[in-house]
C-alpha cells in the first residue's frame, strides 16, 4: 500500500484511508526505509519561530557543511530545502540562501543570495560581509522566516565516526542517500557493473491509455519513489544511469525534464565519478562511495557564485535597519 501523504508518518496524523495505488491503477514501489530516521547525529538545529510555524518541528542539520534555501533547478541542489514552509515563506527564500559550515571555532554563515533578506539577531547581513559567526541561541532570519540556531553539542569526531561506521557496511562501490547534510542511512551497492538506473516507479507501457510507447522499467534500478514528496517531486521516473565503463564508474543523465548534478554542477553528458563525489538528482543528493578509494573527492564541492541580479535597480528587500 502506498500513499502520498507524508504527513502520515508524523504521529499527529492518522494513517490515510485511501490507497493512491488503487486510484492510479498501477502500483508504486515505495521503500519505507527511505523515510527512516537519520542515522547520523544532528550537529545543530534550526527551530522555526514564526507564527504558524509552531507545528513544524526543528530542522536538524546532520552535517558540517550545508547549503540552505529553496531548490531551484537553474541553480543547484540544496542540503536543506525547508520543505515544511508555506508558499509565501518559500517565496522570500533564496535559491540557495546561505552556506552554513562548521570549523574548529564553531559555525559560520555565508550569504549567497543578495536578493533575499538574511539577518542574524535582527541585524541585516549581506553577501558583501565576511562570513558571520553563528552562536547557539542566535536568531537567524532567512527571508521572512525566523529560526533559533541551536547547536546540539555533538562533537564533529562523533559525527565522522558514525559516518565511517555507515560506510563500513559496504564492501563494494555504493551510493548513499544524503539528507540535511549527511548520509542518512539508505544505500545501494553498485555490484559487478550492470548499469543501475536511478528514478521512480512508473507503469509498464500500455497500463494507462496512450502509453504504448513508454519505455519498460530498467532491469536494475534504485527506486526512489519512497522519498518524501518534496524530495521526489524533482526526480524523473528514469533520471540517471550509473554504469562501469572501462573500469571507471560513470553517471549519465537520462531525463530532459530534471537535471542531474555532480558536486552541485549540472551535467549534460556522461561523466566519470570519483569516490566522495556528490550526485544531485533534482534536489536529492546521493554520495558515491568507493570503499577502496579516498573518503573525500579531489574535486571540491561547488558553492554557487553570488550573482546580484538587482544591479542597476533598487533591491526589492528593505535596506538594513539602523539601530
Amino acid at each position: 500500500m502506498t500513499t502520498g501523504q507524508d504527513e502520515a508518518s508524523s504521529p499527529q496524523h492518522k494513517p490515510p484511508t485511501i490507497d493512491l495505488d488503487v486510484l492510479r491503477g498501477w502500483r508504486e514501489d515505495r521503500d519505507p526505509a527511505l523515510r527512516w530516521r537519520h542515522q547520523l547525529p544532528a550537529l545543530a538545529q534550526l527551530i522555526p519561530l514564526g507564527p504558524g510555524d509552531e507545528n513544524s518541528g526543528p530542522i536538524d542539520l546532520h552535517g558540517p557543511d550545508l547549503l540552505l534555501g529553496r531548490f531551484q533547478s537553474h541553480y543547484a541542489p540544496v542540503d536543506v530545502g525547508f520543505r515544511q514552509l508555506r508558499d509565501h515563506q518559500l517565496y522570500r527564500m533564496g535559491a540557495p540562501h546561505v552556506h552554513l559550515s562548521q570549523d574548529e571555532q564553531g559555525w559560520l554563515v555565508e550569504v549567497l543570495s543578495p536578493q533575499a533578506k538574511t539577518m542574524i539577531n535582527d541585524r541585516m547581513v549581506s553577501h558583501l560581509h565576511d562570513d558571520q559567526r553563528l552562536e547557539g541561541g542566535d536568531i537567524l532570519t532567512l527571508g521572512v522566516t525566523r529560526f533559533e540556531f541551536r547547536p546540539t553539542g555533538v562533537p564533529l569526531e562523533r559525527w565522522t565516526a558514525a559516518r565511517g561506521r555507515l560506510f563500513e557496511r559496504v564492501a563494494e562501490p555504493s551510493l548513499f542517500l544524503k539528507r540535511h547534510g549527511g548520509c542518512c542511512g539508505p544505500f545501494i551497492g553498485l555490484g559487478e557493473g550492470a548499469p543501475l538506473t536511478l528514478g521512480r516507479s512508473f507503469p509498464r507501457p500500455g497500463t494507462l491509455p496512450h502509453t504504448d510507447r513508454w519505455p519498460l522499467p530498467d532491469e536494475r534500478r534504485w527506486d526512489l519513489s519512497g522519498l518524501f514528496d518534496e524530495e521526489r517531486k524533482h526526480i524523473s521516473f528514469r533520471h540517471a544511469r550509473v554504469a562501469l565503463k572501462k573500469g571507471q564508474w560513470t553517471i549519465e543523465p537520462l531525463s530532459s525534464r530534471h537535471r542531474t548534478f555532480v558536486n552541485r554542477i549540472g551535467i549534460s553528458g556522461t561523466i566519470a565519478l570519483q569516490s566522495g563525489d556528490e550526485i544531485g538528482l533534482g534536489s536529492v543528493l546521493i554520495r558515491f562511495h568507493h570503499p577502496h578509494r579516498s573518503l573525500e573527492s579531489s574535486r571540491p564541492r561547488h558553492v554557487p557564485t553570488v550573482v546580484d541580479w538587482s544591479e542597476g535597480r533598487p533591491p526589492s528587500t528593505p535596506t538594513p535597519e539602523k539601530k
Binding site: 502520498g4 484511508t17 485511501i18 486510484l23 492510479r24 514528496d229 525534464r257 533534482g282
Partner: protein, 527 residues
C-alpha cells in the same frame, strides 16, 4: 437563577405525574419559576441506588441528565434536568403526525438507551407508553420514569417486554390510527391481503412489527441489537437519497488573442444501490490549462480525464461508507494521482508536453462534499442566497498579500501569475493540495479540524459552483451571488448566465462554469 430547585415540592409547579403503579416509586414532571423543567423521582433507597448506578453508565441519551440527589432523609429522591424546555408527556396526536423519518430517529435514540440499560444488567420491567415524555425541540422520546427498573433475569421474554412498545409506536406513526393489539396484529401479519388493506405496506415496517408483536417465534426480537437493526432498515428505506443536477458551459471566448479553449471540465455521477445502501457519488472538476497553446489544452484535458478515471477506480474499490467518511481525502488523492499522471506525461513525452493546469475538483458522496484545489480556479457553495467561497487562489498576489506587500491593482500581473498548479514538470506535494479553506470551514461551522476533513454536509437546495478565472475574473462575487439567487434551481441556466456575462465583457480568457444542484429525490412519503 442557575441553581436547580432545592425543594421542588415547594417552589416548583407540577406539570404532570407519571403513572408508576404498582411500584412504590413516584415520578413527577415539575417546572421551576424560570420555566425550566425537571423530573423528580422518589422511591425506596435500594431502587434509588440502582438508578444512580445506572445513570453513571454513560450514554443514556433518552434519559434527562441527573442534577443531583436530594439529601432528605425522610424523603430521598433524584432531580433530573430536561434539556428542552418544552418537554411534556407523550402526546399521541403529535406522535401520529410526526414525520416518519423523525419518528424513526426518535425510536432509534430510545432503543439505543434501552440497549445501554440492558447492557448494564437491568430491565425496565416492561416499557409502557405512560412512562414516555416527548421533547418537541430535539424530537426525542424520553424515559420519564424508571420505576420498573430491576436486575435482568435470563428470560428472553423479559427483554421483549421492553421492546414491544416500539412496534406499537411505529404502527401508530406510520398508519396514523390506533394500534389494534397484539392478537389482531399477529393475524394481520399472516395475511398479505389484510396487510395491504390495513396499509402495512411500507418496506421494513412489517418486519419491525413482527419482531415486536410477540415474544414467540423466529422473527421475535431477542435483543435491542435486533430492534436497532430493524429500525435501521426502516430508516434506510425512508432516507431520501439526494440526486445531483449538473450544468456546465465552457467557451473559448471572444478575445481575439485566444485561439483555443484551454479550459476543461468534466463530471462523473454514479447512482448506486448496493445492498441496503443507496447513494449517489459524483466527481466534478474544472481545469484551466497553462503553457503554450496546445500544451495548456493537452494538460487540462489529460487532468480531467485522469481524475475521472481515478474517481471510478475509487468507486470500484471502496465501499460507499468509506468514501462517505473521507470525502476530502478522496478528492485530494484524486488530485495527487492526477498530478503524477501529468508528470509522467511530461517525462515520457517531453516534446509535446510542457504545460500545466489548475485543478479544482469536488467529490460528492450522498450529501457530503470533499474538495481538492490547486491554482486559481474556484469553488463556491451557494446556500440560502449566500455565496461561500470554498477555495483560496494560489497566485502571486495571494503570496504578496500574505507577505503584506502591495499587489498592484486588480489588473496587476500578480493576479494572473499562478503560484501552484499541476505541472507536467514535477508533481505536487500532498501538503500543497488544498482542501476546504479554514475560512469557509469556520463560516460553515466546521470548527474542529477533523470535522473539516470529513467535508461539508450539504442540504437539498445547495448548489456547488466551479469556475475558471475567465468566468470569475469577469463576473465578481456580488454578481455571482445575484445570478445564484436568480438561477437557484437551474444549474445549466446559471452556467450559461455566468459565461454569457464573461462574453459580454469580451473577457480575456477562456471561461468555464460548472454547477451542481443538490436535490432530494421525490417521494410520496410523509418525511
Amino acid at each position: 437563577m442557575d441553581t436547580p430547585v432545592n425543594s421542588p415540592a415547594v417552589t416548583a409547579r407540577r406539570i404532570s405525574t407519571i403513572d408508576t403503579a404498582p411500584t412504590d416509586c413516584t415520578s413527577e414532571l415539575i417546572e421551576e419559576a424560570g420555566g425550566r423543567r425537571f423530573l423528580y423521582w422518589r422511591g425506596p433507597r435500594r431502587w434509588l441506588h440502582q438508578v444512580r448506578s445506572l445513570l453513571n453508565e454513560g450514554d443514556l441519551e433518552a434519559i434527562p441528565s441527573l442534577v443531583g440527589p436530594l439529601d432528605d432523609d425522610q424523603n430521598p429522591g433524584l432531580i433530573l434536568a430536561c434539556a428542552g424546555e418544552e418537554v411534556g408527556p407523550f402526546d399521541l396526536w403529535k406522535w401520529r403526525n410526526l414525520p416518519n423519518l423523525e419518528a424513526v430517529a426518535a425510536l432509534q435514540v430510545l432503543a439505543a438507551t434501552v440497549g445501554v440499560i440492558h447492557g448494564a444488567g437491568f430491565t425496565l420491567g416492561g416499557l409502557e407508553r405512560g412512562q414516555l415524555l416527548y421533547c418537541p425541540r430535539r424530537r426525542h422520546l424520553l424515559l420519564g420514569s424508571l420505576h420498573g427498573l430491576r436486575p435482568l433475569d435470563g428470560e428472553r421474554e423479559t427483554i421483549w417486554r421492553d421492546l414491544r412498545l416500539f412496534g406499537e409506536l411505529a404502527y401508530e406513526n406510520f398508519l396514523e390510527h390506533e394500534y389494534p393489539g397484539g392478537h389482531q396484529l399477529v393475524t394481520l401479519l399472516q395475511e398479505p391481503a389484510a396487510m395491504a388493506e390495513t396499509g402495512i405496506v411500507f418496506p421494513g415496517l412489517p418486519q419491525l412489527l413482527a419482531g415486536c408483536v410477540t415474544p414467540y417465534g423466529d422473527l421475535a426480537y431477542g435483543s435491542t441489537d435486533d430492534l436497532l437493526h430493524g429500525l435501521g432498515n426502516l430508516r434506510t428505506e425512508l432516507t431520501r437519497p439526494v440526486t445531483y443536477r449538473v450544468g456546465a458551459r465552457s467557451t473559448q471566448g471572444n478575445h481575439i488573442f485566444r485561439q483555443n479553449n484551454q479550459d476543461s471540465c468534466a463530471h462523473v455521477v454514479v447512482e448506486t444501490t448496493c445492498g441496503s445502501q443507496t447513494m449517489g457519488l459524483g466527481f466534478f472538476c474544472v481545469a484551466d490549462g497553462i503553457g503554450g497553446i496546445d500544451d495548456g489544452e493537452r494538460a487540462s484535458s489529460l487532468a480531467v480525464r485522469t481524475a475521472c478515471a481515478a474517481f471510478l477506480r475509487a468507486w470500484n474499490h471502496y465501499d460507499g461508507q468509506t468514501l462517505y467518511d473521507h470525502p476530502t481525502e478522496v478528492a485530494r488523492s484524486i488530485a495527487q494521482v492526477t498530478s503524477q499522471r501529468l508528470a509522467l506525461d511530461g517525462d515520457f513525452n517531453p516534446d509535446q508536453n510542457r504545460g500545466g493546469t489548475t485543478f479544482t475538483g469536488v467529490f460528492l458522496a450522498g450529501d457530503r462534499l470533499g474538495l481538492c484545489h490547486v491554482g486559481d480556479s474556484r469553488a463556491f457553495l451557494l446556500r440560502d442566497g449566500q455565496l461561500i467561497p470554498l477555495t483560496e487562489d494560489h497566485t502571486l498576489a495571494a503570496i504578496l498579500e500574505r507577505l503584506g506587500e502591495p499587489t498592484g491593482g486588480k489588473d496587476d500581473a500578480s493576479h494572473r501569475t499562478i503560484a501552484r498548479f499541476l505541472s507536467t514538470g514535477s508533481e505536487l506535494e500532498w501538503r500543497r493540495i488544498d482542501g476546504i479553506t479554514a475560512e469557509a470551514s469556520s463560516r460553515l461551522g466546521l470548527t474542529n479540524p477533523s470535522r473539516r476533513d470529513r467535508g461539508i454536509d450539504l442540504r437539498p437546495g445547495d448548489m456547488v459552483l466551479l469556475t475558471s478565472d475567465g468566468a470569475h475574473g469577469e463576473v465578481d462575487n456580488d454578481e455571482l451571488r445575484r445570478l445564484g439567487r436568480r438561477f437557484c434551481d437551474e444549474p445549466q441556466g446559471l452556467c450559461q448566465a455566468i459565461v454569457d456575462q464573461a462574453l459580454q465583457n469580451i473577457g480575456r480568457d477562456n471561461a468555464t462554469a460548472l454547477a451542481v444542484l443538490i436535490e432530494a429525490a421525490p417521494s410520496s412519503l410523509r418525511l
